[in-house]
Symmetry: C2
Subunit: 167 residues, 2 copies
């Protein structure tokens, strides 16, 4: 191979700029105050029992609230949810300025999302300056069905053509 | 909310059908034999130091090879790589029937991918019947630049319009 070799963080950034990530919004409630953030790392961790994982930086304002036993809302976002994705990735004081419903245990639910899962934190695995959060899936709702939204090359994108079925 | 409530695994499947996942191919070499699989869970776990995580079922034929210290190739796939994605998700004996290069430590490298990272397994965290694999990013190559490929609603999709910049 005579391709240019990149090292460490430069290699990681170059590769993941070309990788499409699904977008979700994580929410919770702490002593009556809503908190949450936009995530690009939420993924399934098996269905029997149903589990999800997501990654968070320890520097995030939500990291101290990732405590075992806490209920979270995991919103799958669609192409109509760009404003929500941007709002929940923006300034902390503006994240809940749009309407939401109070779900079980006061978890904020944004009904404009494509779907929401209620997940309970099972464990938080610290790795360097980040953490992997493992959650049990308790229940969920299908909400406003729409095509997904995805993130790559530092931007949000809609989905294009279906290329093939199945995995 | 008067949406239909789904429980457990049904909720997980319903939500993640609507979630766009990026697609990658993981490869390695064990005693001279290539192994690998298509994954939809590879994601960044911070850049300082550069880390990635991916999820694997313990029933996967590659799970016993997820050992600490082993070097893996993480290929980011693009819209031209549908055949590679399908091949590496298909029958084990057919996964290396198309041409590849032997990279460092004999890691198979598919040069038609969008980018490849060479990552070394730091830890494997078993969770029920699955595992989270944490890897250090050592180096990487930008290969055949192309639009990403994504997976949702049980099918592969290309990327559509750019909706907005930044995160």
């Amino acid at each position: 191979m005579d391709y240019k070799t990149l090292q460490g963080a430069d290699a990681l950034r170059a590769a993941f700029r070309r990788h499409a990530s699904g977008i979700s919004v994580i929410t919770g409630s702490d002593q009556g105050q809503p908190f949450g953030f936009t995530a690009s790392s939420a993924t399934s961790l098996g269905s029997n029992p149903p589990l999800i994982s997501l990654n968070i930086a320890q520097g995030s304002s939500s990291y101290p609230l990732m405590t075992t036993g806490r209920l979270l809302g995991l919103h799958v976002l669609g192409s109509e949810n760009l404003p929500l994705a941007q709002q929940m990735a923006g300034a902390k004081e503006d994240r809940f300025k749009s309407a939401y419903q109070a779900g079980p245990e006061d978890v904020p639910v944004f009904e404009q999302a494509s779907a929401v899962l209620l997940v309970r934190i099972r464990s938080v695995i610290d790795v360097e300056k980040n953490a992997v959060v493992i959650c049990d899936v308790e229940s969920g709702f299908e909400l406003n069905e729409q095509s997904p939204i995805t993130y790559f090359q530092r931007g949000y994108h809609s989905i294009g053509d279906r290329l093939a079925d199945n995995f």
